[in-house]
Symmetry: C2
Subunit: 218 residues, 2 copies
DNA sequence: AATTTATATTTTGTTAACAATATTGATTGA
DNA sequence: TCAATCAATATTGTTAACAAAATATAAATT
């Protein structure tokens, strides 16, 4: 594994978990010596973060970690709604019985996390994303997989870590996941797609209502 | 503008137009001296091409231009179908009257190209893509714009240049574009979306039938 | 002759120094 | 006191040399 790869992974993790704060300036020399590598590989790592939209770069000025931004997150959820709907349609036809079993395991694992209600919220939320990931990967469309898993989802995870206190709505999510799973098991792509779209749409609206201070009208 | 930027643009153009053949090996030293630059900026350019999926890199081995691949193109059209459908929905609400006028101009320009039926096919096809681009940009969803314009479309254009002889179906395309435009003008997002999905779906099926040798059944 | 082993060559990964640009801070003038 | 100008500093862009890995070539063995 190249140094560029390693550094990319480590920076990715640190940014998503908020260990490097949103908006931070990323100085090449500073980071390079921190990781004990030269500036070359570090620049490559930064560029890869930029292509995932976790970092913005301005020529001759520098790089900084993206800042949290509700409108942008809403945009991402709009895309998820459509793309994951499509993923369900495709997965309903493509996925094997073994894959369905694996998905069921994920669902049960998630349920267990919620019921014992222990552990940090982000564990539960990662578990939620695992369910979505699995379906996407079963779609069989490699571009769809890359777009969602490798580009949009980093941003979603970043947001979740940074607002892990808002426990979203785990019980309801599980129920919706179960419905989606059953539609997939029945190979009903149309229904699975509809349910997934509704599921993400609800999450999007929840996002807005949580982040927006209630306007009491006075 | 940095050397990395310039080189990226030039390589992008050369790859899309087929001046650098699909499957070609891209040797760093060779290209660098060809562009009269060092290997550093060249590597950055290659990396950016990789993130657009026009080049594949293997560590310690090297980079090569992606090869044409029908199943992958079909995957991309599946995504376009959904994403551009969404773009229409959003654009119907968001786009200004001025933008509608601009779109109409593009439509007429495209029509002119087809009627005079002169010029290379790829001019007509670029003109076709301009129409799609415009709508996407009017969606107001910046992630949608980037995904489509900056990632998926390079691959579409690459395919079109390399099969410019297959004149697709320009007259029909114009007719469908006109319908979509009228729906947008009427601010009917649902209809515009439906028409766009159907439009791209037809293109996808055309793609398959053109590329697949007719199975006469014997 | 075919296959393996060893060697040489090519090519990528990495570094450290240099050049160019932007930022910062001090200085000057109104 | 504030604004503008200039020098000093810090930071990115770029290059050329070196290190490590993979590929190609040649020799040796069965």
């Amino acid at each position: 594994m190249t140094q560029s790869d390693q550094t990319f992974q480590q920076l990715l993790d640190a940014i998503i978990k908020g260990e490097i704060q949103p908006g931070s300036r990323l100085r090449e020399t500073e980071l390079a010596s921190e990781f004990g590598i030269g500036r070359g590989p570090l620049r490559e790592a930064l560029q890869r973060l930029e292509s995932r939209k976790l970092v913005t770069k301005v020529p001759h000025v520098g790089a900084q970690v993206v800042d949290f931004n509700l409108p942008e997150l809403v945009e991402i959820y709009q895309l998820r709604e459509n793309l994951e709907g499509l993923a369900c349609e495709l997965a309903a036809n493509n996925m094997t019985d073994a894959e369905l079993d694996e998905l069921e395991v994920l669902l049960q694992k998630h349920q267990a996390f919620v019921e014992q209600s222990s552990g940090a919220a982000y564990i539960q939320q990662d578990s939620d994303l695992d369910f979505h990931f699995k379906i996407i990967q079963c779609s069989g469309n490699s571009w769809l997989v890359q777009l969602l898993c490798d580009e949009l989802y980093h941003r979603v995870r970043m947001y979740r870590y940074q607002s892990a206190h808002q426990k979203s709505r785990p019980a309801r999510a599980i129920k919706e996941h179960t419905q989606i799973f059953e539609a997939l098991r029945a190979r009903d792509g149309e229904l699975a797609s509809l349910l997934m779209r509704r599921h993400i749409s609800a999450a999007r609206q929840n996002l807005i209502s949580v982040a927006t201070p209630i306007d009491s009208g006075d």
